[in-house]
């Protein structure tokens, strides 16, 4: 598969193909169309940090700004945050859960 890697200067937003539902302490991403998951009925559960990233996808912040905001919330090393956030966003892009704001 030709994979698109998330880029720090881009602004990403959730696509219209999914909705986010809070179930207890988890944020669950529910696909509305086929072809997002590897199997029917596949959902995505974001952990606390993943949820913070999701909340910051406001259509204004670049990924770099998202990371900067995360750095204010967490004490982890910037490189670690960068690696994890780019990894997460690449995964969400691949699955068409997020897209580049047009």
């Amino acid at each position: 598969m030709n994979e698109q890697t998330a880029e720090l200067d881009q602004v990403y937003v959730p696509t219209r193909n999914v909705v986010a539902r809070r179930i207890e302490k988890e944020l669950i991403i529910v696909p509305l169309v086929s072809g997002i998951g590897d199997a029917e009925d596949e959902l995505y559960s974001l952990n606390e940090t993943g949820e913070q990233v999701w909340k910051l996808l406001d259509g204004k912040r670049t990924l770099e700004q998202v990371m900067a905001a995360l750095c204010e919330l967490y004490t982890a090393d910037l490189e670690v945050i960068r690696r994890d956030v780019v990894g997460l966003m690449t995964e969400l892009l691949r699955r068409k859960i997020v897209e580049t704001r047009s």
């Binding site: 179930i23 590897d38 559960s45 940090t49 995964e91």
Partner: protein, 414 residues
Amino acid sequence: MNERKDSSYVRRVQMDQAPVFAAQQLHHIDIELTERCNNRCVHCNINRPEQDRGAIERELSTKEWKSILDQAAGLGAISVRFTGGEPLLRSDFVDLYRYARHLGMRVLLFTNARLIRPEIGALLEALPPGEKLEVSIYGMGAQTESAVTGVKASHAQAMAGVRELKKRKIPFVLKWTPLPFNAEDRVAFRKWVKKVMGKDVTPGLNALLELRGRRDSEGANRRIREMRLAPQAAAGMIRAWHPQWEVKMRAFMARMCVPKGVDDRLFSCGAGREASVDAYGKLQPCLLLRDPVLTIDLREHTLEEARRDLFLSLRECRAVHPEYLKRCARCFLRDLCEQCPARSWPEHGRLDRPVEYLCQVAHEQAVQLGLIAVGEKAWNVKNGAARLAARAAAQLPDADISGIMAGGEGKCHE
């Protein structure tokens, strides 16, 4: 299959197996959007005229349905069934459908397909329901179908609806109700299903006609009784309808039949566990059971309160009818029989009187399964548990038993 691992931030889960959903109060809600229907089927247990002003005025508004959907989603529901009547008659259907989907709920739609026109097809294609639609067909020609539905155009419109679903690759299942009017079309229906689906699938079967749940017309109920297949014929049809019926029933026995000795509980089923709401906002124990004593008005109570109160009250219900205590309460065929308060209520106006017809069908099936001898009464059998164990097949973990029960829905068991 993609081999990629989940990242530390995101975890993939299956909706039906995710612990977070399993722990929720509510998993599914049934919503009867309207009792009105554009068909006037002779056997129907709920339909009201399409333009019934009184019904229209009493039905919940769009805003009220959205509030109930919000509450259901808040309690964890992952799916909703829109049924009726004909749910597509609601002018706000598209709005409510979109709303439910954007709450992250899968939608199961029960329809006669007459209103599956291109705009509805386009909606279902662009925003898939996530569940197979269930489409009821009553005949293989205009004359047969209109004899059932009372509407000349119903067949042509239903066929157009099915073509629309097929063209847009929207998953659906077809269902059949055997009636005196369409008996000669049954074989043609099975052939047509195979052609439409492109493979030999088993369509749904509504073999045991239910009486009107509102108990609103003794004349209509008498006609429904007259149209029922005789118990032996019904049992035979169910057996012939499902490939490997006996194998599947043995798997069903192994999984679902738990002899309980003498049991006077009325609701040992799943009634009240999920939510079932009628067109006017009354929470019912299940879609079929409309006894007003057991309903709670969601215009006055929240869904959470109403479910809690209803569920608790159902668990305390005990049978007192002497025939029930003599027969059903001691019968080892309980889990194989369609007898339940929802069937008893329309027949007798009470929850605990045996429905003779269902008892006879269950006995016919039990004979076919080798559980009892001809003429034997199951409630007199002392070694019922041993008989079930001997006939059940515990080594069929993968047998698909959905829809195998006589009524066809097969969703009543706990």
